[in-house]
Point group: C2
Chain length 322, copies 2
């Protein structure tokens, strides 16, 4: 059990590496910590998009083309919703997917903890590694966005899905975070043995990883557990492979490169995995005090995912804790 890898992940991009890790590790060697900052209440359901993407991806029931949602899905509920309540039909909910939200919502109403609910779902989808929500307490990401007349705070999914990240992001807040705690299960995973590695998956730093890190006690647990902390850069060749990471970095006045990622995670990570396209930045990364490793981080095939997982683990074993 001291071979355990703890991976921090958002949705689609992070889940790719999580799947790679799941394929190269034994079931009890992997714990995936899911961002819950993008959870939201919608149509009466509590929806946990990143957790569900991890569940479906690691359970082998995901829509691989989309990266989210379930395979062999149908959309009759959405059809009916578009008729009955078109203003609330901006978040796509597949018919099978709905049962996940139905179950979770009802279990929460009955007093179950998110960790326990997620474990039940994982068992249903035959997910071998543990998937742990970053907290059992609600944390909700809000984005301060520029609009035509000024600025307004948007709940994350309105910014992300409804407005498709169109407005300029000025600031991000993880509401509820300061009242939230690390769950007992995650605390135990981080303290009962020294993990082999902490891996920050190539997820959006602001929208997927920082919410996890914002939970009081989380950074101390990660830094204090004795394992090397390794991030995989979500930026490759000055671009984000998926999602609005690059756009947001620009809006926040950052340079869109792996050095900026290293700066962002400085004090948290010991090593950064960067793509071959960014080998020119090894020196500036290392000047931040963070070790760099170069490999292919662009995951197209399952083999890519597994290879990156193996590379990350090899790198972790070579990195001394700072």
């Amino acid at each position: 059990m001291n071979n355990r890898v703890i991976a921090l992940s958002g949705g689609i991009g992070g889940a790719k590496l999580a799947l790679g890790l799941a394929k190269v590790l034994d079931a009890d060697e992997l714990v995936v910590v899911a961002n819950t900052g993008d959870d939201f209440e919608h149509l009466g359901f509590t929806i946990c998009p990143d957790t569900d993407t991890l569940l479906y991806t690691l359970g082998g029931v995901s829509n691989e083309a989309a990266g989210w949602g379930r395979a062999d899905e149908s959309w009759s509920f959405m059809e009916a919703l578009k008729q009955s309540d078109p203003d609330n039909a901006w978040f796509l909910l597949g018919d099978k997917d709905l049962e996940t939200h139905r179950y979770r919502t009802q279990a929460l109403a009955n007093g179950s903890k998110l960790t326990e609910i997620t474990a039940n779902l994982a068992s249903e989808f035959k997910v071998a590694p543990a998937i742990l929500p970053m907290s059992d307490d609600p944390v909700r990401t809000f984005v301060l966005a520029e609009n035509e007349t000024g600025t307004s705070w948007l709940p994350f999914q309105e910014y992300f899905v409804k407005l498709q990240c169109e407005p300029r992001m000025l600031k991000v807040e993880y509401r509820g975070s300061q009242q939230a705690g690390v769950s007992p299960q995650l605390k135990q995973a981080l303290t009962e043995h020294v993990p082999r590695a902490i891996v920050i998956c190539p997820s959006n730093p602001f929208l997927s990883v920082d919410p996890i890190l914002s939970v009081p006690g989380m950074v101390d647990l990660l830094r204090g557990c004795g394992a090397p902390v390794i991030a995989v850069s979500p930026v490759v060749g000055g671009q984000a492979l998926k999602g609005p990471t690059a756009k947001i970095m620009q809006e926040l006045g950052m340079t869109v490169d792996v050095t900026a990622i290293a700066e962002h995670y400085r004090g948290i990570i010991d090593g950064l995995v960067i793509d071959g396209q960014d080998r020119g930045q090894i020196v500036p990364v290392q000047e931040t005090g963070i070790k760099a490793m170069v490999t292919n981080t662009v995951m197209v095939s399952l083999e890519d995912r597994k290879q990156l997982a193996r590379d990350v683990l090899r790198f972790a074993s070579s990195v001394e804790r700072a």
Copy 2:
């Protein structure tokens, strides 16, 4: 507006005549009162099967072959539910149908009344006549059923759908009924003008009609509104055309014939519409003090539904209030 017909209806059987009435009357001439005794809480949703059957039937979006549920339905949610929670997969919920339950459940949680919610759904499904739940207050039908070791009270849908009316019914209760009230909208419909007729549709007396009549004040309003009260017998030729009416009558020690139906509704109705097969019982029915009219009550085609509606209305206009 004093041409208004108030029809009391359960699900499938009643909805057939309600559709016939809707086709032969103007939109503002028909109010359908829906049984809510078979409403139930399931999977976190509040489900109103009889109301939904009326909505879908009168809205022209019903699955005509089944008589319940929506046309062009898909079943992915059920597929997922059978995987995740097979013990709770006994009540079929189509994917489109789910949006109805989702909307109603959320609106109830937000404090809306069932009457208002039903009106919104009716408007969405372009249902012209008013559909009014018998009450805004929850009434839940329970069946005292015989089992191998004794007896037990079953919530209605467990008896009706899960156990398919298999156990012997010893007794039926409409829980919450004594605390329930007739809604202001229904009270108004029954009092603002003298209706043309009150029509009790050919629904199950014990499971669909009596729950409506059990709401305090309902019988007085129906009897006091000045309109003739006409029932259409759900029993034809000693059998129920649909559902467990005949079985239940036997279990309750009744003879399965139209005279027993007349006896059951004695004091409530002024006239009973019976099928040609039962013309031999005109005399015993009339001996109960209830007028009888003979016509074809077996509704196969839409024309049958319209013809029966016309016959019922003609009969009503000929019946003096007792």
